[in-house]
Amino acid sequence: MLEIKNISKVYGNGENKVTALNNLSLTLEKGGYIAVMGPSGSGKSTLLNVIGGLDHLTSGEVVLEGERIDNLNENELVRLRRGKISYVFQQYHLLRSLTALENVLLPLTFCGSDGKKPRAMELLEGVGLGKRIHHKPNELSGGEQQRVAIARALVNDPVLTLADEPTGNMDQKNGRAILDLFDRLNKNGQTIIMVTHNPEAARRAKKIVVLEDGQIVDQILNNE
């Protein structure tokens, strides 16, 4: 479903040149679940950004469901974010002025599908926030905010969910709850790529990819 072919990403030039990704290749099947690990500066977040169209490649190709997505223009990227790819961030990134339900509805506002409120409610029920839908982010705990962010990421039924350190800001208990949620989503067929520092989080994935200096140095398959 996802093919990453010999991608490189270089920032700056001359003496300031930094190679964030170096001729990296990777494939992911539908329903797959990859955890990307590695030390700081190894290129984990850059990898996630280039897959999600948030950053441009220096060379190489990213192909999602047969469509090359690394060279899309702005309008095509908007289309990508509206249906194919969704993000879950470490900082949750919810809009402070909106309630949990409204945050989940936000992607639908932008793509003009107004009639999916029941779907948003169902997702919030699914992440255990059925009774907190009218609460604003500042009235929710970190774990609850992340669950809202996950519900928001799923409301458009994306083919791929990219999660950047989704438990990075949480205590162990809340972190586990979020990882349980990702497990459940994956079991239901959701394809996930998760960047993490947390070995426990990585063990939940079907495959662990270890990066160092922008290259894959190890790939570990986790047993079911």
Partner: protein, 397 residues
């Protein structure tokens, strides 16, 4: 959920910041509305005052005078032409005057008479052994021109055989209300005495025109005609030229009185005040621009979130323009209210004793102006916001 609802909720969260932006617009529109409202009231007052200066066109018989002489010996002056204007020329005079006013001021009513035309017949006669000038007037038209006339005793003319006396005439001739006054073949009754105005009129006697014409056998004749076409921009000079060309036997003179000068002065004051208002508006616009720039930089993350969940660039711009519209609309309405209040406060100081009133037409003006400032001030920040990269907006955190 619609985009405008997202914007409104965000505005409610950032009430204080949005209020600062609204305040920037209010300052600009308040000044403009305040100045315009004051100027409107001032103009009305000055126009009303100017009307008291009377006619702005004088029509006299086209009499030509020649000095005659033999060598250094002066043999006197020869007058060529009639000393009177035929009264039947008045309809033609009115037609020329009204047509030209309508042409230059299409906003003025298209029906009925516009100009005031007051014919006068002057007769020098003898009353109780004193030489007196008697003026035959059309009481109604004359009262329109001589707005400064105040009847101190009795009443104004409302009958054929009535006489109105200048203040000094009454004293010098020892005449009172109800006294009879014989002028040639007709006897008049004194019905009113005017308050002194400090002019020749204080020594004159005013009677209805037709009665005086009959009494002195001057049917259909008048000595002069005063025309008042007082309105800002009325083409007095053009009217005078047209009358001189088209009506033989008369000499029309545009009375270049204080009116033109005062109107010109008022226009200069208006221009100056509007220039101040314009500068204030620009300053207000910069205030809004600055507030929105700060606001957008503060909301870089929110814009990044919206982009990440599927907002297009045009939707981001639309959201910012919605916010600008709220700032503009709020600023426009508040600016109108506060500007009118400002006019109520400063108007009577600038134009002494002027009554200021609400000018409803300035509400849409203020609204439109405020909207324009807010939207224009949003353009650059919006373009900058449009260029924010999603990854950058999160990386900065």
């Amino acid at each position: 959920m619609k985009l405008y609802q997202v914007v409104l909720k965000d505005i409610l969260r950032r009430k204080r910041r949005v209020l600062y932006a609204i305040l920037g617009v209010v300052i600009g529109t308040m000044t403009v509305v305040g100045i315009l409202t004051t100027a409107t009231a001032g103009q009305a007052k000055i126009t009303a005052q100017l009307e008291k200066y009377g006619a702005n066109l004088s029509l006299l018989p086209a009499v030509k005078s020649f000095d005659t002489g033999l060598g250094t010996l002066n043999l006197g002056t020869i007058n060529v032409g009639d000393n009177y204007i035929a009264e039947d020329k008045i309809p033609q005079i009115r037609q020329i005057t009204d047509t030209l006013i309508r042409k230059y001021r299409p906003d003025i009513s298209t029906e009925g008479n516009i100009s005031t035309i007051a014919p006068t017949l002057f007769i020098g006669t003898d009353v109780k052994g004193n030489s007196v000038v008697v003026a035959g007037i059309d009481p109604e038209e004359e009262s329109q021109i001589k707005t400064w006339w105040v009847v101190s005793q009795g009443k104004y003319l409302d009958g054929a055989d009535q006489a109105l006396l200048g203040g000094q005439t009454a004293t010098l001739l020892d005449l009172k209300i109800g006294d009879r006054l014989d002028l040639n073949t007709t006897t008049f009754t004194v019905v009113g005495i005017l308050e002194d105005s400090g002019s020749d009129e204080d020594y004159q006697i005013f009677v209805p025109l037709s009665t005086l014409q009959n009494a002195f056998d001057k049917e259909g004749l008048v000595s002069s005609i005063d025309v008042r076409a007082l309105c800002n921009g009325c083409p007095v000079e053009v009217i005078a030229t047209a009358l001189n060309q088209d009506i033989p036997g008369i000499r029309a003179v545009a009375v270049k009185q204080v009116a033109a000068a005062e109107m010109g002065m008022l226009e200069k004051i208006n221009t100056f005040m509007l220039a101040i208002a314009g500068v204030t508006l620009i300053v207000g616009g910069f205030g809004v621009f600055n507030t929105l720039m700060t606001s957008i930089s503060e909301r870089k993350k929110d814009i990044g979130i919206m982009r990440a969940v599927g907002a297009s660039r045009s939707q981001i711009i639309k959201a910012l323009v919605y916010e600008a519209a709220v700032v503009g609309a709020g600023g426009g309405i508040l600016g109108y209210i506060m500007g009118t209040a400002l006019a109520f406060a400063i108007g009577p100081i600038i134009f002494e004793g002027t009554a200021i009133s609400f000018v409803p037409i300035y509400l849409p003006v203020a609204f439109g102006l405020a909207l324009c400032i807010a939207v224009l001030a949003t353009l650059y920040p919006a373009i900058r916001a449009m260029k924010i990269k999603v990854a950058d907006s999160f990386a900065s955190l």
